[in-house]
């Protein structure tokens, strides 16, 4: 396992499957009355958020706390950063306080890479979203959600997503979620199709390991999972598309379109959803929509990543073979073994 998690493209198939399998173990913790493991007791994790993102920060925080880490939350607003402090000085200040891992969200693409490779700090770096570059834990939680729904919770263990057809719809150009998902899903053997108006597909996409289509209706019947991305209304003012209504008509997912998907196919969304824009309430609230599951799975995935990056090689959760749902697992941390 690597020391940092910067890009989904850095993960091998075996790395990714290990994270997904570990996340399944972590998910069992969430089913218990006491949702806590002592694995990261005495370790300090800082959530370094230069961009507002309540959802991702809370998810990481929940994961860290369930692993018993000491958590420091640092948001740029009102901090020394807003007074002009550099990323380097902020990072070194935190490291001087004895931080073991830095979870970073930054508006500049590549900031986590620079933090991990510049020699500024020794701590493990986890990318919680950088600019329009990568958001690897989002891709992992999406893959986890797909594996559970399309392969099975138990039968999925050790498995990848070979042959699954995934369609990603929306603002590909500005989306770190799309980039991460294309990389990871390709590694896991899935076939990815991107659907967007041509204005929202990056120049250079032809080198990505996926297909590109401008026609949602033709792709839907051949999809096992359809991931809708948020489209910011501001994009309209930059002439990426004429009006919200036209965007919705051509690229939004409503009940009628959802009916064209195969029976088993799921609808995904990384949130926050803009209801009425890329997705209608009917679809968002349907059983096929996994948006709430994705949030829950996000905590499990982030626990798995933190554990694998910081916890060493010992099992986080030991248990007798999971033949039933009995919460009879013995939990041992590194120190206890």
């Amino acid at each position: 396992m690597m020391r940092h998690l910067i890009s989904a493209a850095d993960l091998t198939r075996d790395d990714a499957v290990l994270i997904l399998d570990t996340a399944e173990e972590m998910a069992r913790v969430a089913d218990r009355p006491i949702k806590k493991l002592p694995t990261l007791r005495g370790r300090t994790v800082v959530n370094l958020f230069f961009e507002d993102s309540t959802r991702t920060r809370i998810s990481f925080e929940a994961a860290e706390k369930r692993l018993s880490a000491d958590v420091i939350n640092f948001t740029a607003k009102g901090s020394s950063v807003s007074k002009g402090e550099s990323l380097k000085d902020t990072a070194q200040t935190l490291e001087a306080m004895g931080v073991d891992a830095v979870v970073i969200r930054h508006g500049a693409s590549g900031a986590p890479y620079t933090l991990a490779n510049s020699g500024w700090i020794d701590a493990a770096v986890i990318n919680a979203g950088d600019g329009t570059h990568q958001h690897p834990t989002q891709a992992l939680l999406d893959a986890f959600t797909m594996r559970r729904r399309l392969v099975g919770r138990d039968t999925g263990l050790g498995q990848d997503l070979a042959g699954k057809r995934v369609t990603i719809v929306g603002d590909i150009l500005h989306s770190r979620v799309a980039r991460s998902n294309v990389d990871l899903l390709h590694t896991l053997g899935a076939d990815v199709t991107l659907v967007a108006p041509p204005t929202l597909v990056p120049v250079g996409v032809e080198q990505w390991p996926c297909e590109v289509s401008y026609d949602l209706d033709r792709v839907l019947p051949k999809s096992d999972a359809v991931m809708m991305l948020r489209v910011q209304r501001e994009r309209m003012n930059a002439a990426f598309f004429p009006t919200e209504r036209e965007y919705s008509r051509r690229y939004g997912l409503d009940g009628e379109r959802m009916a064209r998907m195969p029976e088993h196919a799921i609808v995904m969304h990384p949130g926050p959803m803009v209801r009425g824009m890329e997705i209608t309430a009917e679809v968002a609230d349907s059983d096929r929509c996994t948006v709430v599951e994705q949030v829950a799975n996000g905590v499990s995935i982030r626990m798995a990543v933190l554990y694998l990056l910081l916890g060493g090689n010992e099992p986080a959760v030991t248990h007798t073979r999971p033949t039933t749902e009995r919460p009879a697992h013995t939990v041992l941390s590194d120190e206890e073994k």
């Binding site: 510049s118 570059h133 120049v203 250079g204 080198q207």
Partner: protein, 428 residues
């Protein structure tokens, strides 16, 4: 001033000859010249060129003396074999008045390391709205003949047309930084395969090419000459080639870094590779080399752009654009053009001295190496090989993309009107 005998130098890469400097002038060129009364410089295996001329340098003074001053910048120039540099106008305050250009000109005179010819801004404050007093800058002590808003594009077609027309009155030239501003909002690197992966805002080739196409047509229409700064794409080469074939009076420059580096380097997110125009693709690099060889691109200009360490020791998005170049330019040109067989040393003299001096009207520079000419000379050891060590730079800044890279060639001596500014690689 005493006599200097440069013995056995390959003048412009030709057969070994002796060159005798007497005072400020080349007294004699021949074989077996007498060394009597002269300091002898043994130049076995070395190439003697006219002192190099850089049409595109950022000296940063006034305003950003933390990154470079006229003194440190001209010392860097002498180290790199230059005897004349043209100082870009994007200082603080902007060089858009006779007062500022005269200040820079005076600082250059005082430095004594190389001649400094200030470039005047085309528009007030580089804002692209209102013509600066071009005539006053021309008539000032600085005698400005090159005008540029470099760093920004003169994007308003009417302002560009007027500037092209206006400077004809005194034989000036407008040097355009070709960058369509709307197409490059938020641009961080070349738009293409790499930018798509890295999620960095794209700077498309068409943003450069469309301005060049417009400007060569404007130049043709009003019968003016136009110079294109730091041309960086294969498409731009095609447009300039077409314009020249039509007889349009256009000249163009390429930077050393665009002859060698590509956008693949940006994958490191190391801001030392952040520059404007951005590093392009391998295909562009090859087209630029070919165009420099066949004369479509007229000259090499460094776009030496010093920045303090903190402006590069940060995440990509926050970093400043630009690279220092004066002290590595000749090595990069040897590596990419001479050692590849694309250009002879005589060709290098043309692209880095004769033609830039002609475009910028740098009197006394870029002259032939022959008796009676001003002794502006540079001596190069082309056999040298070694890694670039920024710690040894004379520039105040260290933002070179070549740190640790092995490059051929080393400037050992530079003479400015007979005075040695660099001897055995040491500034005097």
């Amino acid at each position: 001033m005493s006599k200097i005998l440069i013995r056995g130098a390959q003048v412009l890469g030709g057969e070994p000859q002796d060159v005798l400097i007497d005072g400020e002038t080349i007294a004699e060129v021949g074989t077996g010249l007498s060394a009597e009364g002269a300091t002898v410089v043994e130049a076995d295996g070395k190439v003697l060129l006219p002192g190099l001329v850089d049409l595109h340098t950022h000296l940063r003074e006034p305003g950003r003396e933390d990154s470079e001053t006229v003194l440190t910048g001209t010392r860097a120039a002498a180290s790199g074999g230059y005897t004349s540099v043209f100082a870009m106008a994007n200082t603080f305050p902007v060089a858009d008045t006779a007062g500022v250009v005269e200040q820079v000109y005076r600082l250059g005179k005082e430095s004594g390391y190389c001649d400094v010819q200030p470039i005047g801004a085309v528009t007030v404050g580089l804002e692209g709205k209102k013509l600066a007093e071009l005539g006053a800058m021309h008539e000032s002590a600085a005698g400005v003949t090159v005008f540029s808003d470099d760093g920004k594009c003169v994007d308003d077609a009417v302002i560009m047309r007027r500037a092209l027309e206006y400077v004809k009155a005194f034989g000036g030239v407008v040097a355009q930084h070709a960058q369509e501003p709307r197409l490059t909002e938020g641009a961080q690197m070349n738009e293409g395969i790499v930018s798509a992966e890295l999620g960095l805002g794209g700077w498309p080739a068409v943003a450069e090419e469309s301005i060049i196409a417009r400007d060569v047509l404007l130049a043709e229409h009003v019968g003016s000459r136009v110079h294109i700064c730091h041309l960086s794409t294969a498409g731009s080469v095609e447009i300039v080639r077409w314009a020249k074939s039509r007889g349009i009076d256009v000249t163009a420059e390429v930077t050393p870094h665009h002859l060698l580096l590509t956008d693949e380097l940006v994958r490191s997110y190391n801001p030392v590779y952040k520059v404007n125009p951005p590093l392009r693709t391998e295909r562009d690099v090859m087209a630029l080399r070919e165009a420099l060889a066949d004369g479509t691109i007229d000259i090499v200009a460094t776009d030496h752009a010093p920045h303090p360490h903190e402006d590069k020791d940060c995440e990509w998005g926050a970093a400043a654009m630009g690279m220092v170049g004066l002290e590595t330019a000749l090595s990069v040109v040897q590596h990419t053009m001479v050692d590849t067989g694309l250009l002879t040393w005589a060709g290098v003299a043309d692209r880095m001295a004769h033609t830039p001096a002609r475009i910028g009207q740098a009197d006394g520079h870029g002259r032939p190496v022959s008796a009676g000419e001003p002794a502006n000379l540079t001596l190069v050891d082309p056999a040298y090989r070694g890694p670039v060590d920024p710690a040894g730079f004379a520039s105040r800044s260290r933002n070179t993309p070549y740190e640790g890279r092995e490059l051929p060639g080393r400037v050992t001596h530079t003479w400015l009107r007979g005075r040695a500014t660099l001897v055995d690689g040491k500034l005097q």
